[in-house]
């Protein structure tokens, strides 16, 4: 792992599946390359949006190897490595560090509920100690709407204090700007990424590092434009546009919606496939989504051209 921290727009890359529900490696590689070409600063592969929690431990290891062996710069990768189980989290995290990943995005152990900060601190500390790699860079992944278990601000502060060289950032997918704000106030020295581009401009103005956002899978260039121009005269207008697009998408189940859009952009129907327990959008839902995006002038033609390139 390198010492340079992530900043900018990171995308939790979608994972395409074949009709047999196996990861479609070639389509995945093409998508990752397209995202980077469109300006994504990094790929948070194996995030929630990636359906990583529906991927087996060995599948994740093999997929990371595949991507790095295919020539994707590992310094641009922030794989999700947090699982319920200490042993599996250590295995995935150590492997990511060994392959040179720029960082890992670490869910807390999320099966047991009502655990307290001491237990969660011990869980993260144990992972860092067992991996024992000075190059490891951990970005905490706070997503209570899905994982239920999260990282309270006081715990974030405690982890950063205990491991200042290792715990260098956080993705805040609470959807609660006041929480992001509280993190920025408590630990301004780490890279704070809101989990939605809706908070991108506000985050940057408050000292945030960018965003890590699901809809970056379909609108990377638009979101990147806000990051590039956030101090400029067009910042508000650019932000309003990406917020408008995001709001159309998030009226639908997020992952199936992003896959339906990607299927339309790439012309590959298989992109709609999700692994159970998630379900693909119905034809009617997908049509409604695409019509809603067309209605606000979101350009698929441009994106399709880029994706094929």
């Amino acid at each position: 792992m390198t010492d340079s921290r992530f900043k900018g727009v990171l995308v939790p890359a979608l994972t395409p599946f074949t009709p047999a529900l196996d990861p479609d490696r070639d389509a995945w590689l093409a998508h990752c390359r397209w995202l980077l070409a469109e300006g994504a600063d990094g790929l948070a592969i194996f995030g929630t949006t990636s359906e990583a929690n529906s991927l087996g431990i060995e599948e994740r290891i093999e997929l990371l190897d595949f991507l790095v062996d295919a020539g994707i710069d590992p310094a641009r990768l922030m794989p999700g490595t947090g699982t319920c189980a200490l042993a599996d989290t250590v295995k995935l995290t150590a492997h990511a560090a060994r392959r040179g990943a720029g960082g890992v995005l670490l869910l807390p152990p999320f099966y047991y509920k009502a655990v307290n900060d001491d237990g969660l601190f011990a869980a993260v500390a144990e992972v860092i100690e067992r991996v024992g790699d000075a190059a490891l860079r951990v970005y905490l992944y706070h997503i209570p709407p899905v994982a239920v278990v999260g990282y309270p601000v006081a715990l974030v502060e405690r982890l950063v204090t205990a491991y200042p060289e290792t715990v260098v950032g956080i993705k805040d997918s609470s959807g609660d700007w006041s929480n992001t704000r509280a993190i920025l106030d408590a630990v301004p020295q780490i890279a704070v990424f809101p989990g939605s581009e809706i908070f991108l401009l506000d985050g940057l103005r408050a000292g945030g590092a960018g965003c890590i956002t699901a809809s970056g899978n379909v609108n990377p260039a638009g979101i990147r434009a806000v990051y590039e121009n956030w101090r400029g005269p067009n910042a508000e207008r650019l932000q309003a546009r990406i917020t408008e697009i995001r709001k159309v998408i998030q009226a639908f189940p997020a992952i199936p919606a992003l896959k339906a859009i990607t299927a339309a952009f790439t012309g590959s129907r298989d992109w709609k496939i999700t692994r159970p327990p998630l379900e693909a959008l119905s034809e009617a839902e997908a049509r409604r989504l695409l019509d809603a995006l067309s209605a606000i002038g979101f350009s698929m033609a441009d994106n399709r051209a880029c994706h094929a390139a």
Copy 2:
């Protein structure tokens, strides 16, 4: 796997850890043998109480192999095999079937929230189809207070209808008797196990199969006595006693409490160790728990003698 369904008292066996946080195999084997000797009808190893969700996939495979190789009858085992990820659930379930487990206890994929019955049905169906073992017997594991995602009654009915030879039971750890009652009414042909002995007698009278209960780790003989005598004149009295003991225990965090009691019973302090994110009871808490059990005359001396045997 054999064709005989589980019934009676099953125990989600605790998993002891060494100070280095590795599973302590010898202590585990001794505990499993003691539970069976005390009358447990089966061992639901790798349950929530077993901290199975803190064990890695490979750890679970190796531990099951160890137990069966050590001579524990696999027909008495109902290992938990449900994980978030399709690939891992298939791997664990196929391995359990291959080793002759009497059944598996299957959590639904529990990371993604707000999934609907169609998606959960597809997830379970996919596991059954991929394992493709006619001897597989699935017991659904409904524990919404922890896993959040559960099996609604309509989904249970649908799975039993689709796979009548395979989906043969359920553990209902909702803690809601009306839900257990609704399952018994909807699918009387399957083995319904409340997840607490508090509902044992009510469950048996309503057609239930017994119970699968955490506190069976420390009170297996007492709970078994209710099962053996439920039609007899002492049933209510015996039930009241096990309920009394359970209520003392469940005033504390369940898993650390059961480990503290087992540490006291066996005289082995290491039994108190939990894996993060769980934390052992403090000395003061453990003392308070043990005093409360003494106050109701719960006999540690008897249990200690049995455990050492």
